[in-house]
């Protein structure tokens, strides 16, 4: 009985406080791998002690003290002068700082550590999800289509590198900040889009990590309120998430933007997104995430006449392509140009993309089918649609593509 209560309390603490605990212990250890080692020992100690003593009033505080003690012991084994000096500095900083502020700062530094250029960019997002939010390798692997064991191994390798190469647990200086922030934003954005399968029409299926990504973006905005792109990214994700419920029909069927029921949109999230976008605009430094948010805002603006919306969308996508000339954006722009009435010009934009890469890219075929049908080239449209269906990973998207040709 006491065992079961202790287990439940430890599980709750792990679920609700893991990321905060890693961040706080990392302040003492300087690297998340050691912090996680120390925390693992603290949890093991809790499962031995709590059944005897009872669960403490503040389990997470107990775990923090225990983990710091373990971290201190680990440090004493590591007798280098530099480590000792860093530890003393950390302890002094903790005594001087107030808890909530220190917490926010530590988690912000973790975000930048996870997206350091000395770590392979494809592991930035998984590292953030694990060290900041405490997600396990199985869940992260599922979102990135990587087997759990392989994901666990890559995470361990990255953390070993952080420790061995002495990647600093610090915010970048002013000179490095723009590039480093771009990497953090890209990693948070990747968490949001992981597991999505868009059809090149500026919409997406349901992302299983979207709540986690929004949480990370909120951390970033709270820590760096003067960075407009952080606010732009948060706004983009809030707009998209506000429409999540409308994106699938009751039968799980995929519902494209134009056919969604706005009654299913979350107005509170849309309002929060608008507020972020407005705050970003006041900082007067435009960027790709703010443009993406503006596009999302336009999609959510019910009062705008359709013809106006389509024209402005094409303009916004032209801006976005100049800021972020990536494949998805270029396809979406071609569709927007066609949507504004210039179908042939849109098709020409699609044809201008690298044909070798596009041959295996489902959104390109879906967009092509859409535009060819509008041109009245029905046989070619049907062929393109079949290619898109064959390439679709999400069965709901494939099912929706099948309906578009009928």
């Amino acid at each position: 009985m006491a065992d079961a209560v202790a287990h439940a309390a430890a599980e709750a603490a792990a679920r609700d406080h893991y990321g905060r605990l890693v961040a706080l212990v990392t302040r003492a250890t300087g690297d998340p791998a050691s912090a996680e080692d120390a925390l693992a020992e603290a949890f093991a100690a809790a499962l031995r002690v709590w059944p005897v003593t009872g669960v403490p009033d503040q389990p997470q505080a107990w775990l923090l003290v225990a983990a710091r003690r373990v971290a201190g012991k680990l440090r004493r084994h590591d007798k280098t002068h530099a480590a000792a000096a860093a530890a003393l500095a950390q302890l002094a900083a903790e005594r001087a700082g107030t808890a909530p502020e220190v917490l926010g700062d530590a988690r912000l530094r973790l975000l930048f550590l996870c997206a350091h250029p000395a770590i392979a960019s494809d592991i930035h997002t998984p590292l953030m999800l694990q060290t900041v939010l405490g997600l396990d390798a199985a869940r992260i692997g599922a979102a990135f289509l990587v087997p759990p064991a392989a994901m666990a191994q890559r995470l361990v390798r990255a953390k070993v590198k952080i420790r061995a190469a002495h990647i600093p647990f610090a915010l970048p200086d002013t000179r490095d900040l723009p590039a480093r922030l771009d990497a953090v934003l890209a990693a948070v954005h990747a968490a949001f889009t992981a597991g999505w399968d868009d059809v090149g029409l500026g919409q997406a299926g349901h992302g299983s990590l979207s709540a986690e990504a929004i949480f990370l973006a909120r951390l970033l905005v709270a820590g760096m309120p003067d960075q407009p792109e952080a606010r732009g990214l948060l706004a983009t994700m809030l707009f998209a998430e506000a429409r999540a419920a409308a994106r699938r029909g009751p039968d799980g069927r995929y519902v494209p933007m134009g056919q969604q029921d706005p009654g299913l949109w979350r107005d509170d999230m849309i309002a929060a997104a608008e507020a972020e976008l407005a705050a970003a605009s006041r900082l007067a430094r435009p960027g790709r995430y703010q443009t993406e948010a503006a596009i999302q805002s336009l999609h959510c603006a019910r009062a705008v006449p359709d013809a106006v919306r389509k024209r402005v969308l094409a303009d916004l996508y032209a801006v976005l392509e100049s800021q972020a000339p990536v494949m998805g954006v270029r396809i979406a722009r071609a569709v927007a140009v066609a949507g504004a009435g210039q179908v042939a010009a849109g098709l020409a934009l699609l044809d201008g993309l690298d044909s070798v890469t596009m041959a295996a890219h489902q959104p390109w075929w879906a967009a092509r089918a859409h535009l060819l049908a509008q041109m009245g080239q029905h046989a070619a449209a049907r062929d393109a649609r079949d290619r898109a269906i064959a390439l679709a990973r999400d069965p709901a998207v494939a099912a929706w593509l099948r309906t578009t040709g009928q």
């Binding site: 000395a118 190469a165 002495h166 990647i167 610090a170």
Partner: protein, 120 residues
């Protein structure tokens, strides 16, 4: 921490060493760079190396020596020298690496140095 920077240069850089028109600028760049690191008091050790065509590579296979003319791998960039630095972290080392003449002409690899063995 101690970290080793290895400087990897393309053939064109090695060629500058012997070209009277370019040698002065080439060596001047390296002298200034190494002088700055010495002035900062971070240098543990280091050396420049003769060009890769002076290299000899040995492998022991089934107890027999296989000695070969040239470097261990035939790549576009070859090891031209190394420095071991005492720095607080990777970002500090990266700042120094970015100032090396080889950073623009070739590449600089950074590797943490193993701590001394317990019974060493």
């Amino acid at each position: 921490m101690q970290i080793m920077m290895t400087f990897h240069e393309p053939e064109a850089e090695f060629a500058k060493r012997a070209n009277p028109a370019e040698a002065e600028a080439y060596w001047g760049g390296w002298m200034a760079y190494i002088g700055a690191m010495n002035a900062a008091g971070i240098v543990v050790s280091g050396a420049g190396l003769m060009p890769p065509d002076t290299a000899t590579t040995l492998r022991l296979r089934d107890g027999a020596r296989q000695v070969q003319d040239g470097p261990y791998a035939d790549t576009k960039e070859q090891l031209g020298g190394f420095m071991i630095l005492e720095v607080p972290d990777l970002d500090t080392a990266l700042d120094w690496a970015a100032r090396a003449p080889a950073a623009a002409a070739g590449s600089v690899e950074l590797r943490p140095v193993l701590p001394p063995m317990p019974n060493g």
